[in-house]
């Protein structure tokens, strides 16, 4: 039973890897629209800005990298519980950033923990640009 479960898990993992998932286009569009509305001079999301933001602290003890490490292609560990965290970059983990509801759920939780507030659309778009720019 256990072996069969593991087999099914790896089969699913393989299928997920074969079907290269993408960030939902309508979600990215909505972020872009909101970012432009908040800043008339907004010139598109930036992977470079996202990378710097990912590694910086924003008023709390944690940055994104505290749990996800500064290499999102690798796995991380939860800063409090020690639980292992699967890689965040879609190139290493195709399931990531493929489901709008999940993306928003984690932005809500983690932005509150790391920034003490909600992330802005520009911050979300930048960090997504950074994570999707990473290649193995």
């Amino acid at each position: 039973m256990k072996i069969r479960t593991q087999g099914a898990f790896f089969a699913l993992l393989f299928l997920a890897a074969a079907a290269a998932a993408e960030v939902p286009a309508d979600y990215l569009r909505s972020l872009d629209t909101a970012a432009r509305a908040g800043n008339p001079g907004f010139a598109g999301f930036s992977a470079g800005r996202g990378a710097a933001w990912f590694g910086s602290r924003h008023g709390t003890d944690w940055s994104c990298a505290t749990c996800h490490t500064d290499n999102p292609l690798a796995g991380g560990r939860h800063a409090t519980t020690g639980r292992s965290i699967a890689p965040l970059a879609p190139a290493a983990n195709p399931e990531r950033l493929s489901d709008t509801a999940k993306i928003e759920k984690w932005f809500k939780r983690n932005c509150n923990d790391v920034l003490g507030r909600a992330c802005t659309p520009a911050e979300k778009g930048d960090v997504i640009a950074y994570l999707t720019s990473l290649k193995q």
Partner: protein, 163 residues
């Protein structure tokens, strides 16, 4: 007369021994098992991403209710879930809750006398080792914790100086 009294003594001792024996057997069966049901996919995916999806039987229903009331400030982090997932998880935890075990004030499974007794052989250095780090990190030693299996069979305590 004397025989009668002796007989009563003897009966008393036999019954007491039997009672103690049965209690020990029940305790041993309980202690050697340590397998719990964790069988809600929603609970496992929503709560199990930051920590092991703790077996519902390890806390009482009242404590689970209180935990579910404060997910936006859950032991120092925001672990909010969607409305429908919240209702489903809350109902699941309440239905599968065990007898109240922990000190109600902290809501932590690891603060209960039961937890401390079970882990009395784990020394401070092991708790602090990088591989363990936190009492919440069940999987560091209980290799099948994700499946609710905390049996000694699947227990591997990491070496203190490792990693």
């Amino acid at each position: 007369m004397i025989d009668d009294r002796r007989r009563k003594w003897f009966d008393g001792i036999v019954w007491t021994a039997a009672a103690v024996g049965i209690a020990m057997l029940v305790d041993a069966a309980h202690a050697s098992d340590h397998r719990y049901a964790v069988d809600s996919a929603t609970y496992q995916s929503e709560c199990g991403s930051c920590h092991v999806a703790y077996p519902p039987a390890l806390l009482g229903a009242g404590t689970w209710r209180e935990i579910m009331r404060g997910l936006d400030r859950h032991f120092g982090t925001d672990s909010s879930v969607g409305v429908s997932a919240h209702a489903e998880i809350k109902a699941y935890l309440e239905a599968e809750a065990g007898r109240p075990r922990s000190a109600a004030s902290t809501m932590r499974i690891s603060d209960s006398p039961w937890f401390r007794k079970e882990h009395r052989e784990v020394d401070a250095a092991t708790w602090k080792s990088p591989a363990v780090k936190s009492a919440a990190n069940c999987g560091a030693c209980h290799r099948q914790a994700e499946q609710g299996d905390f049996s000694e069979r699947n227990l591997v305590v990491p070496r203190r100086e490792s990693r």
